[in-house]
Symmetry: C2
Subunit: 217 residues, 2 copies
Amino acid sequence: MKRGALDPVVQESTPAIIARKIRDAIARGDFAPGVQLGEAELAKELGVSRGPLREAMQRLTQEGLLVSYRNRGLFVVSMDQDDFRDIYLARSAVEVAAINRVAGTDPEGGAAKLMEAVRAMEAAAATPDGQAITEADMRFHALLVELAGSPRLKKMHDTLLTETQMCLNALKSTYDTADKRISEHKGIAEAISRGDSDLAEKLLAEHMDDALMRLIP
Amino acid sequence: MKRGALDPVVQESTPAIIARKIRDAIARGDFAPGVQLGEAELAKELGVSRGPLREAMQRLTQEGLLVSYRNRGLFVVSMDQDDFRDIYLARSAVEVAAINRVAGTDPEGGAAKLMEAVRAMEAAAATPDGQAITEADMRFHALLVELAGSPRLKKMHDTLLTETQMCLNALKSTYDTADKRISEHKGIAEAISRGDSDLAEKLLAEHMDDALMRLIP
DNA sequence: GGCCCTTCGATTGTCGACAATCCAACTGTA
DNA sequence: TACAGTTGGATTGTCGACAATCGAAGGGCC
């Protein structure tokens, strides 16, 4: 019998599933920052009892997406400008590390996949859907960290990305032109392909500064 | 009435307290990697019911300290060499960002506090307790990230530090001489005090490589 | 009118009990 | 002896119910 043909079945736990659903809803903006999440109501809506639901909430609290006030309830975290800055600072830390890792191990292969993501951004820019290019943008950054092959960097980055989405929902930032947005990403990918991690790092820092400046005037 | 004289009382939730206790126990090595944590037993020992306990477990699972196998239970994560490498990679990412932040905002003040932590290491080295210097070592790194003033970097780093402790417990790594260990940290602090973040970054990278090499031969 | 106290409804925090699932040991068969 | 099937004990997953706490509305007092 051929070995390694089958992946072990992973049964996701119920709290993990619930947490994902609520996390996505928060990222989409379906739950506005600051609003309270009533347990009974959510449990009824999801078709589970309060037990598993509360376990899921603890996950999201640990992640920093919810804040808990004892005996009062759980609330979607509301972020101020300091949080915006902090999110982009932390994202820079993670993505810079990813750049160095990719540029130091597989520059060409990694950059090729990143260029594919850039092309996806170009395709998204051609559509009238304004949300599409933002999603493609975030996928670029998610891919960059994935390519680094570090489970811990990836996990940290995932939460940072949902927080980023919350920022964007709150402040509806927009690029004036999609061209600049695309070329910035392309520049990073090209620098990586050349193994020039210093340049890629510098370009990323500028890219992050730009994004932050669009959020905070 | 004078304003701002009182801090708001923060009532830590029960799951948060339980999670901290178990997290500390894991960091200390009281729960060896790979062992199963029975809910009933733990609940009885902590004097709570299984409800809040399970909520705490979800926190630790989200943190990556426990792994959950459905219908089988929760186990302390067991780490291999890839995990060791990944932990030090992620720590480098966070601490490099902290260095740049401290060196870029308050180099002298930050470095002064770091030098204090170095002196604490020297004091610990003078004691026969071999664990003391390791704790002082980790406090140096924790302080470095605290000085960056980023809640997100700090939270990420805290989990990485407990994972680091798990590594050390598993492999009992030791420096041959405490002098080298202290001088490495002193060098980083001095580089920061001069605002030379590039040098500090380079020294930290070497410091991390050294630590990893002592773990993985 | 303004302030404090009390009461009430609603929500959270906690617990015990039941059902579902899994692992290990045992039994029977070829 | 080796293997498939069965049974039993123990643990996890889920639920409903009760107690504790909080915020808001109402009433009384100065």
